[in-house]
């Protein structure tokens, strides 16, 4: 089937207008129209098969786990809508070519228009609900862009924002509904969903699903109480209104109702809610339309009322009602599009849309006037026009529904009244604009539009007539197949004849027309009566609501985000406490069954040292240097603890990191006050923090104890078993790092590199004041680089490097490895910085440390990618044993290269941080004994 390409052709077409914009306007319009025309051709190509009542689906798996497929379907309904979208779309393209002025950026307009067309096609052809929702949101966005096309006018901006807010919110509701429905049915494919009506309607979620779907549909097609965005969307250029607000965008909601009619409809709730909403919207729209002085305003409200009519039909509990709804969708699209275009022509050629100024245009633009009159007659439901047929069916259905029980007779009556108002505002449209005296205060004298600007209107009006006179031959088959898709089972008998003999519907039509005449003749008192009510501007109310939301959000935000880190930290700890503590309360005992080691003296001393050290750190935290000394004591004891509990690698790492940290903090401390002012902290805060900290400490301690004493079955047996055979190393820790969990390590060194670079940027151009005295007021010592220290450090450097190389090489089989070796090397270099200063080092180490990081990461990555060359997954390690004369048997492993990458990255990161921090200080400072 070819239809699969239909949604993609316009998608490709989106960029074409932007490319062809630099040529003249007609070329641009033609190029733009090309792909939609092609798509239309494809649809027509597949039309016959669909008219035979077949439905096709095609899908490509996209994200199966989410039930998200790229999947399209072609059945009666989607064909009907695709024809409307593409057909009217093409006409609008032609129309807009003449409507847009030289100032407007045509390419941009067409680009938005085609984007919107793509979105609509996607909606009507989607066979997957999530995909449908995606296109649904795309329509909201593109319509926002279209409505705000004239972004210089604040009305356009406000109207667009309003439309986006309402329809976007509806879209979110729809998404929720779709997800619920998908969960209930177990699939997001429409062809599955549409055939599981019982399942869904029996399900407890049914009400939720229904209400969410209705929210989506009603917001989109401007049903009460969400109708107010549509009139404000009239700030858009008229082609947009003709396209969006007659045929497509507002019909999307109707389409949704029709599409899901088989699943959701048929219950009492559906009938009552949908029909009453539709009825009320119908009346409200019809009534309000009469009093609008703006042409497009009138049309907007009449659109609202017609949408209400269609919704009402979908809500009536007879099958023919659904058919009538489909029929009216077609008819309304046709005549309303032509009316909008006519209004656009009038606006374009006479410079005004105000019906109080526009009068008697008949003698200026007779052809346009005729067209407009025919179209509005069809809107009024005058016989021999398509509007009449569907309205006739509508009246018929209102008679044999029974949703309001004994009050069901109200519906036909109200429907007739609505019809009367429709006749009235159609009359007003005709009479006020084309007759009724002379135009008042127009800026320019009206005249006929350019030839081809009128062509679309002519085509559409011709359609009105043809459909109105020969319904069965024109739209009959299409209507059948579409209704088949909506009802999802064989159609009942119905005839599209114009004449059904004298019956109540005919009488109702007559009444409506007569009533309309009566209303229009007595319009003056009616207008006066209407004038008594205060005019409500939805825009102001809406903006007010938005502002209120924003203010509220800001207030909440300010109460939560006071900007005090202490508060954040406190609440963080507090909630961590609140979340962790309760489960622990349920535990009856923390001591598990695991056998414990007896305590011995050394450990006791170490524990005492640890506790004393941490306590001293807290106590002397005001004298920062001393706190640092205490901290280094703690670090030392911690690393000895690691060594004692048989983790030599950790001991080595901890030691090196501890020294590096101390050096870092010393470097930083130089720029900070040496003492923390004590008076600043509130006693209440002190107590509060003390409580929280100690509580958390207790919890961590008890968890730790429970962990250690409870028996655990670790996955480590695997690592221990496979370290030698799989990783080719006997130091399991290192093998895990560079082989089993190599990917983690890769990520970690990447983080290390990123952190170092971030620090580098933070240090850049940082200006801090140098202290010339220490905090007791002594001047600094004179000799920058004590001779002995320099000499010895220099002579120790080879030793350092030798040791780090040794630790690196043996890392795979004995404690050691890239991390530790890297740290040792960087400490060795830092020692040189310390003893000789930055200048001395920069003379000797010319390469910048960024390269270390880069080379290290690249090395690690290449090692990983290398395994691809042998068809292995990323970072599969390789090792083998070789033997050379004299050297003997030795091992080569790819993990060693990876470890080299780690090594380089660590060096680069550490030195990038420390060396740059060291460079911050100026050369010369005041010192004692300067001679």
């Amino acid at each position: 089937m070819h239809y699969f390409w239909v949604p993609f052709l316009p998608m490709l077409g989106i960029i074409i207008p932007l490319l062809t914009n630099k040529f003249n306007r007609s070329t641009c319009a033609l190029a733009t129209a090309l792909l939609p025309a092609l798509a239309l051709g494809l649809i027509l190509f597949d039309l016959p098969a669909v008219l035979d009542g077949q439905a096709f689906t095609q899908s490509i798996e996209w994200i199966p786990l989410l039930g998200l497929n790229l999947s399209f379907r072609l059945d009666g309904l989607s064909v009907l809508f695709s024809l409307l979208i593409l057909g009217i779309g093409l006409l609008v393209i032609l129309y807009a070519r003449y409507y847009l002025s030289e100032k407007d950026h045509m390419g941009r307009f067409y680009c938005y228009l085609i984007m919107f067309m793509t979105a609509m096609l996607g909606i009507v052809m989607s066979n997957n609900m999530l995909q449908l929702w995606f296109y649904w949101e795309l329509t909201s966005i593109s319509s926002f862009l279209l409505i705000s096309f004239w972004s210089h006018s604040s009305d356009a901006r406000k109207g667009a924002r309003m439309a986006l807010t309402i329809t976007g919110a509806g879209g979110l509701a729809l998404l929720a509904g779709i997800v619920l429905l998908g969960e209930v049915v177990g699939s997001y494919q429409l062809n599955v969903v549409l055939n599981s009506a019982e399942l869904v309607q029996q399900h407890p979620y049914y009400l939720a699903i229904l209400s969410l779907f209705l929210l989506g549909a009603f917001t989109k097609s401007a049903q009460f109480p969400f109708h107010f965005w549509l009139p404000h969307a009239m700030a858009a250029p008229t082609p947009v209104s003709a396209y969006l607000h007659s045929a497509t965008m507002v019909k999307a909601g109707i389409f949704l109702l029709a599409r899901f009619y088989p699943v959701l409809a048929g219950t009492e709730v559906w009938f009552v809610v949908v029909s009453l909403t539709g009825l009320f919207t119908l009346l409200l729209g019809a009534y309000t339309a009469l009093f609008k002085h703006d042409l497009k305003g009138l049309l907007a409200y009449s659109t609202i009322s017609h949408l209400g009519l269609i919704v009402l039909l979908l809500g009536l509990n007879t099958e023919l009602a659904a058919i009538a709804a489909v029929f009216h969708i077609i008819n309304h699209a046709i005549f309303k599009a032509s009316l909008f275009m006519a209004a656009g022509i009038i606006d374009h050629e006479s410079g005004s849309r105000d019906m109080r100024k526009l009068n008697g245009l008949w003698k200026y633009m007779p052809i346009t006037a005729t067209l407009a009159m025919v179209a509005s007659a069809s809107m009024a439901g005058v016989p021999l026009l398509n509007g009449f047929l569907s309205k006739e069916m509508f009246f018929t259905e209102t008679l044999d529904q029974s949703i309001l029980g004994s009050l069901s007779w109200l519906i036909p009556v109200l429907a007739t009244i609505g019809g009367a108002f429709a006749v009235a505002y159609s009359l007003r449209f005709i009479h006020d604009v084309f007759f009724n005296g002379e135009p008042k205060g127009l800026t320019k004298t009206p005249h006929e539009p350019p030839r081809y600007m009128r062509v679309p209107v002519e085509i559409l009006v011709a359609l009105c007539l043809v459909v109105g006179i020969f319904p069965a031959y024109t739209v009959g088959p299409l209507l059948d197949s579409a209704s088949l898709a909506v009802l999802n089972h064989p159609l009942p008998e119905f005839s599209l004849a114009i004449w059904h003999g004298f019956n109540i519907p005919l009488l109702m039509s007559g009444l409506a027309i007569a009533g309309g005449l009566a209303i229009y003749l007595n319009r003056k008192p009616l207008f006066r009566f209407e004038g008594l009510f205060p005019a409500i501007d939805a825009k102001i109310k809406f903006e007010g609501a938005i502002q209120a939301c924003v203010r509220w959000a800001q207030k909440v935000n300010q109460t939560l985000e006071s900007g005090s880190l202490q508060r954040y930290a406190f609440w963080l700890c507090f909630f961590a406490l609140a979340l962790i503590a309760p489960p622990l309360l349920d535990l009856d005992t923390t001591r598990g069954s695991q056998a414990e080691y007896p305590l011995n003296g050394a450990v006791a001393i170490a524990a005492v040292l640890l506790v004393a050290g941490s306590l001293a750190t807290v106590i002397w935290s005001h004298y920062r240097l001393i706190a640092l000394l205490m901290l280094s004591l703690v670090g030392l004891v911690v690393s000895i603890t690691f060594a004692y509990f048989s983790a030599p690698d950790l001991a080595l790492t901890q030691l090196s990191v501890e020294i590096v940290t101390v050096i870092l903090l010393l470097l930083a401390l130089y720029f900070f006050p040496q003492h923390t002012p004590t008076s600043k902290s509130r006693p209440s805060h002190f107590v509060r923090d003390l409580a929280v900290a100690s509580l958390i400490g207790c919890i961590i301690g008890s968890i730790c104890f429970a962990l250690m004493t409870s028996p655990l079955d670790s996955i480590s047996e695997f690592f221990i078993a496979n370290a030698k055979t799989g990783g080719g190393g006997t130091n399991v820790v290192n093998v895990i790092l560079v082989d089993f969990r190599g990917f983690d390590t890769f990520g970690e060194i990447t983080v290390l590199g990123i952190a170092a670079l971030g620090i580098y940027k933070l240090i850049a151009r940082m200006r801090l004041s140098m202290r010339t005295k220490d905090h007791d007021g002594r001047l600094w010592a004179t000799d920058k680089y004590p001779v002995l220290l320099s000499v010895i450090s220099q002579s120790l450097l080879p030793l350092f490097l030798l040791i780090s190389a040794y630790i690196f090489m043996r890392g795979h089989n004995l404690p050691g490895g890239g991390f530790i070796a890297g740290l040792i090397t960087s400490i060795a270099l830092i020692q040189q910085y310390l003893a000789h200063g930055v200048d001395w080092m920069t003379k000797r180490v010319s390469v910048s440390y960024h390269y270390f990081i880069a080379i290290g990461l690249v090395t690690a990555a290449i090692t990983g990618l290398g395994s691809w060359a042998f068809g292995q997954p990323f970072l599969t390690s390789w090792f083998d044993y070789f033997s050379l004369p004299w050297i003997g048997k030795f091992e080569l492993t790819s993990a060693l290269v990876f470890d080299l990458g780690v090594y380089l990255t660590v060096i680069g990161a550490t030195l990038l941080i420390l060396a740059n921090l060291g460079k911050l200080t100026t050369k010369e400072r005041l010192t004692v004994g300067v001679r």
């Binding site: 003296g601 050394a602 001393i605 005492v608 040292l609 004393a612 050290g613 001293a616 240097l625 001393i626 000394l629 205490m630 280094s632 004591l633 030392l636 690393s639 000895i640 060594a643 004692y644 030599p648 001991a651 080595l652 030691l655 090196s656 020294i659 101390v662 050096i663 010393l666 470097l667 401390l669 130089y670 140098m770 220490d774 600094w780 010592a781 920058k784 004590p786 220290l789 450090s793 350092f800 040791i803 004995l814 404690p815 050691g816 040792i824 400490i827 830092i830 020692q831 910085y833 310390l834 003893a835 200063g837 930055v838 420390l914 060396a915 921090l917 060291g918 460079k919 200080t921 050369k923």
Partner: protein
């Protein structure tokens, strides 16, 4: 006999460590504390070597070596801080 000797020795070292910690905490001056930390480094080397002897394994050797190296570096860094305030200049 060897194990007893090791235990006895490590007991003495622990006492030594405790004494150093005492000096570290009472001060009185910062240089005193630095000496204390430096001495603790050296003592812990001994402790770790004794641990290795006691368990008859050489896998703690590197830790001892590293402590020796790094203790020196950190002492140097602290002294440099007292002397110049800015340890890398």
């Amino acid at each position: 006999m060897l194990s007893y000797a090791t235990l006895f020795a490590s007991g003495l070292i622990c006492i030594a460590l405790a004494l150093n910690a005492w000096r570290l905490i009472v001060g009185p001056t910062t240089p005193d504390r630095i000496i204390a930390v430096d001495t603790m480094y050296i003592n812990s080397i001994a402790l770790i070597i004794l641990l290795g002897l006691y368990q008859g394994t050489t896998s703690y050797y590197e830790s001892a070596l590293l402590i020796a190296l790094l203790g020196f570096v950190s002492t140097a860094a602290f002294c440099k801080y007292l002397l110049r305030g800015d340890i890398i200049e």
